[in-house]
Symmetry: C2
Subunit: 293 residues, 2 copies
């Protein structure tokens, strides 16, 4: 039984095997493999893995959930990179999928990966929790899309509730755009261990997820300012050009560092009651707070 | 209890209510409503409705399944219309979503509708069949995407098995592109009535679905040739320009008419054993064979 450690070797093998056996046209499978395999930090599967352990399971039990959230994450990157969206040519140092395989294939392969997220749950998760996992995954996916709309298509306030401060607007964007799928990753991992909605474990892990989900984005904004050379830079420049809201823009650099520490503590406090089983989640929050790329 | 009749009033109200209560940004919800509501033949929900009745249920029981397949169908139309795909400006006589709301919104709203297909099942179908419905929906969605890849992106044979005749290639494309979601519609409808995978009803309805799914496309190809003025025409012209395989191209017009009749009979024979309960499916196959638009 694996009670700690990294989800990465397990999830890489799991995703590769899952995609390999699909009865897809070669060109479609290759496009999916290009976008999905051999790269990425696998943060979301790791959150599922550590949440599963924190709720009393073992890491392997979380793999269907980890594969599902990673498929949805990979789909979102492919569609975000499209010319009509962020128009990015590079992703993790290699050409984006629409540069590599054409725009039509990038749209279709992204669509397929979204469907595959639900497919892997329906086929491989234990039957009695499958539908609960699908519900969480749909919530995470739709939150992410809603956040993207708030962030990029509601510039004139169309669709965002009135009367919010800049900080509240930022929080609404990022609790959806990044936070919703991170929340789903954690809750799905816990559900794989059998944690029920109303359980102490599920409530603790959800509160942890809400804190680290937002922290992830706050750190991201901070790195765009403090490490511009290490970042691709394109995004940061674009955001500045577009006059987009960012945490350093609203809180200043020091205020943003403080916000990171507050969210880190919030995450730690949320899982205090899980004791030893929460070690993986604690280490992950620490790593997310300190990351430099 | 509704044992016959049209799915349309029920499905229209169901979809409208489902979308209205989603916690989405206004702009995203409006885009989804634009693409999803107030148009379309609702063929797939009708197939789910009649399949549910054929398997011993009533029409209302099929509504979550009908909503799911219509959401996926609507997503596929929005993405198919995009500039990088078919580049269509009109759909059902009004501007396509990317013309109406911009390309980024069309990509995102399409993505959201795909997720919502699974969401409506996870939230509204009876708990014990939810995961079976999700499995069918994923299969239908991925088949449709695979068919699209075979049809538009494998022109040089990349990905299509070697050694197929033109007719076999056509069948492979359309059994996936149109057939897979039609099959899912029928099987999901039957599952809503409690039909199990290995049951006589499920086998009969699956065979029916395979026949009408292919027939739908054969009729479509035929209408492009025999009723070019009534069709938007653009597609038919494009297909001709691209030298694309079509049934009249391979079988001639008379051969294509014969193929329609053979598939119609195949569908009728498949559900002979369902007796009176199969009346709705029989009428629908008849209507699909005779349609003129």
């Amino acid at each position: 039984m694996n009670t700690r450690g990294s989800a990465i070797p397990g999830i890489e093998a799991y995703l590769a095997e899952f995609v390999r056996q699909l009865p897809f046209p070669t060109a479609l499978r290759s496009a999916i493999e290009y976008a999905l395999l051999g790269g990425g930090k696998r943060l979301r599967p790791q959150l599922a893995w550590d949440s599963c352990i924190a709720a009393g399971g073992n890491g392997e039990m979380s793999l269907p959930a980890g594969a599902a959230v990673e498929l949805v994450h990979a789909f979102s990157l492919v569609h975000d990179d499209l010319p009509a969206m962020d128009d990015d040519d590079l992703r993790r140092g290699k050409p984006t999928l629409h540069i590599h395989a054409g725009e039509a294939m990038a749209i279709l392969a992204g669509d397929a990966m979204l469907s595959l997220g639900f497919h892997v749950l329906a086929e491989r998760a234990p039957e009695h929790i499958g539908i609960c996992l699908c519900r969480e995954l749909a919530g995470g996916t739709e939150g992410m899309i809603a956040g993207q709309v708030y962030d990029t298509l509601c510039g004139d306030g169309g669709g965002m509730p009135d009367g919010l401060s800049d900080r509240q607007r930022l929080e609404l964007i990022h609790r959806n755009k990044t936070g919703a799928l991170i929340r789903a990753s954690c809750r799905m991992g816990a559900a794989c261990a059998g944690a029920l909605d109303e359980s102490m474990e599920m409530r603790a892990i959800s509160a942890y997820a809400d804190a680290v989900g937002l922290m992830f984005q706050v750190v991201d904004d901070l790195l765009d300012v403090t490490q511009p050379a290490e970042r691709i830079g394109k995004r940061a420049n674009k955001d500045a050009q577009a006059g987009k809201l960012t945490y350093p823009g609203v809180l200043g650099v020091e205020g943003t560092r403080k916000a990171v520490q507050e969210l880190r503590e919030k995450a730690m406090n949320a899982i205090e009651g899980l004791g030893e089983r929460g070690t993986g989640l604690r280490e992950l929050a620490e790593k997310m707070a300190r990351r430099e790329s």
